[in-house]
């Protein structure tokens, strides 16, 4: 049971993380916004079913989101996820010079491209980790995996990305 007065703070705490995770799983921004809204609506309307003793609100919220994404792909064919770097608006603001901004943006473009080469499961775990900013324990609960398995998947995915990035840079 979640008190109604907690809805606002919970929304503020999880909205950006949840949106970022959903956006990394679906093809366009509009679908991501729809699923984000549906996730919060469902979580708040069924808040009486939530039991804090059985798991965290974050786990509950992201599981709802994950099921909605899966249901979305049950009704439409899966399309590759594309989001341009303008959707990650804070990238270039810290760069001191335009040249460095360009280099940084190119690195991010390559990283996004390499990220899409990972398996769907690895992409989802990376997304929950870095966009949803969740600890491995919660990712394990959401994905029905063991925490150690998630830790190893994150390690291997990062190693894979690093080696591909280096190979690409060497070309």
């Amino acid at each position: 049971m979640i008190p109604k007065e907690d809805f606002g703070p919970l929304f503020d705490e999880y909205y950006s993380k949840l949106y970022a995770y959903i956006r990394s799983q679906v093809a366009n921004r509009e679908t991501a916004e729809d699923i984000t809204a549906a996730t919060f609506e469902r979580a708040f309307s069924r808040s009486h079913l939530y039991d804090a003793n059985k798991g965290s609100f974050a786990t509950w919220l992201f599981r709802i989101a994950r099921n909605l994404v899966i249901n979305h792909y049950a009704s439409v064919s899966r399309k590759p996820v594309h989001y341009d770097l303008t959707e990650a608006m804070e990238i270039s603001t810290a760069e001191p010079s335009p040249e460095q901004q360009v280099i940084r943006q190119e690195q991010h473009r390559v990283l996004l491209e390499l990220l899409s080469d990972l398996s769907e499961r690895d992409q989802e775990i990376i997304s929950l980790k870095f966009f949803g900013r969740l600890p491995n324990k919660k990712i394990a609960e959401i994905m029905d995996l063991k925490e150690k398995t998630v830790s190893v998947i994150v390690l291997r995915a990062l190693q894979k990305l690093k080696s591909r990035l280096e190979a690409k840079a060497a070309i």
Partner: protein, 252 residues
Amino acid sequence: MNEEQLADALAKHLDALLVGESLPEPPPEEIASLLALAEGLEELTPKPRPEFSAALRESLLNSSAGAGGAPTATGGSVLPWGPLALITIAALGVITAVTLLGGGIIWQRWGADDPALPPNDAPVESRTEQAEPILLTVTPSPLPVPATTTSTTTPVPSPTLSVTSSPVPASPTATFVIDVLPPITATATLETSTEDIPLPSPLVPGSPSGGSGSGGSGSSGGGGSDDDGDHDRGHGNDPDGHDEDNPGHGGN
């Protein structure tokens, strides 16, 4: 450091990184470069549109305040509809029963007055009649026929006439089904020419010159078994099925 220990160390440093902290001990060399990559990934985080965020927040908070709380809203709405639903279901049941009873009586009376219908205790009859095979014979006559004239005697496959009487149930309804095979048409063609060539003797059916053509088609009808009959079945499974009404909150 094995892979599992490396994964644990990375997880600790990543969790600290994601909440904006840093651990007191420096990361091992193997994962220092991975942490730099993780920072790059973190910067790729898609950002929501601020106007959508504000609108959604307002909408969600207003709807939850207006509903007076989800549990009481859904719980309280059940009570007034319970007795009404029961009364409606009972009334519909009575109307259905009266309609069926009245319809049955009318049907029974109409069925009894109809002389075309057989009595209810009509015997069950099923028989199959086999028609006589028809033999078409072409007798050669001194017609003007070329030297290669042939005659063929073709036995027509015996057609079967099937009459099936279905048992008439004891209820006022009666069913009478007769299946008749379509008529079979046999065609014989005789080619003639304009030259007058007298034949030395009448041709006999089954002679070496004419009996080879009719035997081939009879065995070709056995292709009824369908080895591929199941190939388009069994694809109805849906491995990705998820229950929308149960959002999969396994822990809660």
